[in-house]
């Protein structure tokens, strides 16, 4: 699986989104009286680091034709465990978070693959349960992480534009891209997302792959929560639904298909970077938040309508009817 050519939606969508937002970003000085600084790029990458892993986690399950709503629950739980188990040493917290993420993923993946239950209700239930668990663990309180050294470390500027946090996130995107490009998993993931029966007939181990994908999704979201907790120096038991919705939007902008079977980690990277840039533009240009919400609504609306199958049929019908009746080549 090499990065796809630009004609195809998994490449053209994120590239278009990224180019548009970069242009809007670069032009900021022309429509506001703020000058751009290197810090704006740094801050964009910080926003990216906050939501990147969530997008990657959700995006991977979407490529496999599933939908993991529980990512935000795992994100919250991971963040909370990081703080509560990591008071002695940050590594324990991280370990607890990653372990919990893997366990949640394996449980969900197992249920979905073995029992062949649709993923949405299962992950919705785990989402609610995980939020409850997180809240029960913390007594509903935001928990403070005392280790300021870690907090300072994860966000210190590296090479002007980066921080350890954004570098780790970028690294994981690169790793995911490498794994999916360099191993058979990439094509197999898209195969079971695109046509599960055909994949099975061709010899893909569908069940294992689904379990593995959900486990990866759990670990990535938990790590995302961990990094956020380190950065904020605190863990919030209820991150709300906004991160989920933004991550879904980013994944769709990243060229992942609603029908599954399409998408690439690099596309996801493009999608979430576009979202982060947009957020930074909103911050720098002091655009009201509701304007960016409307912008998202528009983008998603266009994506979903373009993807709608019955609209497709209508367009095909329209095209065939406008064409003078002619005799196509019969290649039967």
């Amino acid at each position: 699986m090499k990065p796809p050519s630009f004609r195809r939606p998994e490449a053209s969508l994120p590239v278009a989104a990224l180019v548009l937002t970069i242009i809007a970003f670069v032009l900021i000085p022309t429509y506001t009286d703020t000058a751009l600084s290197s810090f704006d790029v740094y801050n964009t990458l910080q926003i990216f680091a906050r939501l990147g892993l969530l997008t990657l986690a959700l995006g991977l399950t979407m490529i496999a034709g599933e939908f993991d709503l529980s990512v935000v629950g795992t994100y919250a739980l991971g963040g909370m465990l990081t703080v509560q188990a990591g008071q002695q040493h940050w590594a324990w917290g991280l370990l607890a978070a990653l372990g919990a993420g893997a366990a949640v993923g394996l449980l969900q993946g197992g249920l979905i693959a073995r029992l062949k239950i649709p993923s949405m209700p299962v992950t919705l239930a785990t989402y609610i349960a995980l939020l409850g668990l997180t809240s029960a663990l913390s007594g509903g309180l935001t928990k403070t992480y005392a280790n300021v050294t870690v907090t300072l470390w994860v966000d210190q500027p590296v090479l002007t534009y980066f921080s350890p946090r954004s570098l780790i996130t970028l690294g994981l995107f690169a790793a995911a891209a490498a794994v999916l490009s360099l191993s058979r998993w990439g094509r197999e993931l898209r195969a079971i997302g695109g046509d599960r029966r055909a994949g099975r007939v061709a010899g893909v181990r569908v069940d294992r792959l689904i379990v593995g994908t959900f486990a990866a999704s759990g670990v990535l979201s938990a790590l995302g929560g961990s990094l956020l907790s380190f950065s904020l120096g605190s863990a919030n038991p209820d991150p709300g639904v906004q991160p989920l919705i933004v991550a879904a939007a980013a994944a769709l902008l990243g060229g992942v298909s609603l029908a599954g079977g399409r998408g690439h980690p690099l596309g996801l990277l493009g999608g979430i970077l576009a979202v982060a840039l947009l957020a930074e533009i909103v911050a720098v240009a002091a655009v009201p938040q509701y304007v960016s919400q409307l912008f998202f609504a528009g983008l998603l609306g266009i994506i979903v309508v373009i993807d709608a199958p019955d609209l497709h049929s209508a367009l095909v019908r329209q095209r065939t009817r406008l064409r003078p009746s002619h005799h196509p080549r019969t290649s039967i």
Partner: protein, 314 residues
């Protein structure tokens, strides 16, 4: 607004503060309190020629990003409200390192950075005290010498809720015959508060609860509605005594109607005026004190007319 009296003489410096820049990391506009605050604060500074960069948000994570953005913008002053106290510790330290002054309004900062910022704070303990006084006064007026109370708070993890409860508990400690039987976290959420209240009335029954504290008026009113639906009388000679502790228009209406015994101020208009005022004084080198408290007032039926205007902003 009622708070315009504070800090006199500022408008005299109409020579203007051209060229001064404030980066404003306040509460987002989709929160009513924040929306009104911003609506008073920003124009007031802009009328003085101060440039205000709006970095407001209701998401604690975004707030940190925006705070860092503000530091990088190198303004003359950062004005911030702390959605999550602990996550702003590091940004405040960074701002100090960068030599950018920070003014925190509404809720207090983490003690570890208390000395690093200027503060215009709501007097949360006074708000809690006022609420307790309202309840005791109301129950005494009904001739009750004892009673069970419930409290539905704002987000417990925030200092605002904690400090109000501190004041509330301290005041009630003076009259131990009035006992708090249940405290629940209503998360500054009216719907959740209503749900909890419904269940509490079922748990204790009408006779088991004589007074209730909803930490904001929009939490107190769902308690009133829940009580009525549970068949418990509210207000009057024998009914439940309910108080809020930061006033909204609906609360004022309810006090006039007699369903809410009382509330307290902490209206966004007053604190916005005072914060803007503080900024102007600061820029005019009038050396305002490092920490200012907004004077909070107790509101009941007796003085409601006086506060109706001030409290009807949100």
């Amino acid at each position: 607004g009622g708070g315009s009296s504070s800090g006199g003489g500022d408008t005299a410096g109409a020579a203007g503060l051209e060229g001064k820049t404030v980066n404003f990391v306040g509460y987002g506009k989709d929160n009513p309190w924040g929306a009104y605050f911003n609506g008073v604060f920003v124009p007031k500074l802009e009328s003085q020629g101060v440039k205000v960069v709006d970095l407001t948000t209701m998401d604690p994570g975004t707030a940190v990003t925006n705070f860092n953005q503000a530091i990088s913008n190198k303004p003359d002053l950062i004005v911030a409200a702390l959605l999550d106290t602990s996550s702003t510790v590091v940004p405040i330290k960074k701002a100090k390192q960068a030599g950018i002054p920070v003014l925190v309004f509404d809720g207090r900062p983490d003690p570890s950075v208390d000395a690093d910022v200027m503060q215009v704070l709501s007097d949360s303990e006074a708000l809690g005290t006022a609420a307790a006084q309202n309840l005791v006064e109301g129950l005494k007026a009904q001739g009750r010498n004892s009673g069970n109370l419930i409290a539905i708070t704002g987000t417990k993890s925030g200092f605002a809720a904690q400090d109000r409860m501190k004041g509330f508990d301290a005041e009630l400690a003076k009259t131990p015959e009035y006992k708090v039987v249940d405290i629940q976290d209503g998360n500054w959420d009216p719907t959740l508060s209503g749900k909890i209240a419904t269940q509490l009335f079922a748990k204790y029954g009408c006779s088991g609860i004589q007074g209730a504290y909803g930490m904001a008026d929009y939490q107190a009113l769902p308690i009133v509605a829940a009580a009525k639906q549970a068949g418990c009388p509210v207000g009057g000679k024998t009914g439940l005594v309910v108080t809020g502790s930061n006033c909204f228009k609906v609360g004022i209406d309810a006090i006039k109607a007699g369903t809410l015994y009382g509330t307290a101020t902490e209206d966004p208009g007053t604190i916005a005026e005072q914060t803007a005022d503080y900024v102007i004084r600061y820029f005019n080198q009038q050396n305002p004190p490092a920490k200012e408290l907004v004077k909070e007032e107790r509101v009941t039926a007796e003085n409601v007319a006086q506060f109706a205007e001030q409290c009807s902003k949100a």
